[in-house]
């Protein structure tokens, strides 16, 4: 999580041509872009395409942010717009979405034990079944390194105070989805 003053400095430096500052911004905000595109069901080549477009465009827009704290909101809006474009494109050409890597039964996180792996797999497929806004919130809150509450609120265009209650409601839904999956 970047301190707001550090973030403002990094943006100023990057605008002035400091490539290292730009790299740190990419490191700090990649999780945000990635979480949002996942929440819109983007995987594989589609995810890669959106991620690249957002960062290429960001280079030129950095200098035009009215306020450095607007970066998260700008990235979120641009990512959502690109997700929307891909969704429209699928409808138009009648193609299917790229599937999550872990939808493949052979997929396994090498770091997970078998028992833990099954539990975590239930979470991974559970979150996929949540609505977009719950996915956006929960995924943003899971990012490592974490994104500040200010940025989460800005990215979702909700007041900071409603993050807690919304999180509770979304977790409740997720719990129900996972329980239903287990009892089947």
């Amino acid at each position: 999580m970047l301190d707001p003053d550090v973030q403002a400095e990094l943006i100023t430096s990057a605008v002035d041509g400091d490539e290292r500052a730009w790299s740190l911004l990419v490191d700090s905000f990649s999780g945000l872009v990635w979480s949002l595109l996942r929440s819109h069901g983007m995987y594989g080549a589609e995810a890669a395409d959106i991620y690249q477009t957002v960062w290429l465009r960001c280079v030129e827009h950095l200098a035009r942010l009215r306020d450095p704290s607007m970066l998260a909101a700008w990235l979120a809006t641009t990512t959502r717009r690109e997700c929307y474009r891909i969704t429209r494109k699928r409808e138009r050409v009648g193609s299917n979405a790229d599937l999550p890597e872990f939808a493949d039964p052979a997929w396994k996180d090498p770091a997970e034990s078998v028992v833990a792996g099954e539990q975590l797999a239930a979470f991974r497929s559970g979150i996929e079944q949540l609505g977009t806004s719950c996915q956006e919130l929960l995924r943003l809150l899971c990012i490592d390194p974490p994104v500040s509450y200010e940025d989460v609120a800005a990215a979702l265009e909700i007041p900071k105070g409603s993050i807690g209650p919304t999180r509770q409601r979304c977790l409740e839904r997720l719990r129900r989805i996972i329980d239903e999956g287990e009892s089947r």
């Binding site: 990419v26 929307y84 409808e91």
Partner: protein, 145 residues
């Protein structure tokens, strides 16, 4: 109703489940390399509209060419994209007219098209991925084909 403790335990589980879902290293490297495409000397023509993000209506409007509009304080670019196979047909107009050529660039290649006296240009390009247009001190936002 579950307590606060249950919720935080659940968040921990969710974090563990999602920890390895991050952008691949190669993509992050490419994002960092985007910086080399900084157009410091040019005026940005921002993407104002893109027909490919408009909702489909009852009629099959999706079959027409994709149209994009860009504008800076001083100029605007209208663009029409017709896809047919690997080749992409581009047709557009820059206003005010004046520039005599437009460079279509991707992150791996570029080519130049002539602009006529009324600002019109057209041509076929074999580019993929993200592209942008550059003409006489104007550069458009990147857009994905």
């Amino acid at each position: 109703m579950n307590g606060e403790g249950d919720d935080s335990e659940m968040m921990d589980q969710l974090r563990r489940a999602l920890v390895s879902d991050r952008p691949p290293e190669a993509l992050m490297t490419a994002a960092k390399a985007s910086f080399t495409w900084r157009a410091v000397d040019a005026e940005l023509a921002e993407l104002l509209s893109d027909s490919s993000t408009e909702a489909l209506t009852g009629v099959r409007s999706g079959d027409g060419p994709r149209t994009l509009e860009f504008a800076s304080a001083a100029s605007s670019v209208a663009l029409e994209i017709v896809e047919s196979g690997p080749a992409i047909g581009l047709r557009g107009q820059i206003s005010p007219s004046g520039p005599t050529e437009v460079v279509v660039e991707s992150t791996t290649a570029s080519l130049t098209l002539a602009i006529d006296e009324d600002g019109w240009f057209n041509g076929t390009v074999n580019l993929t991925g993200n592209i942008r247009l550059r003409a006489d001190g104007i550069v458009t936002d990147w857009f994905s084909l």
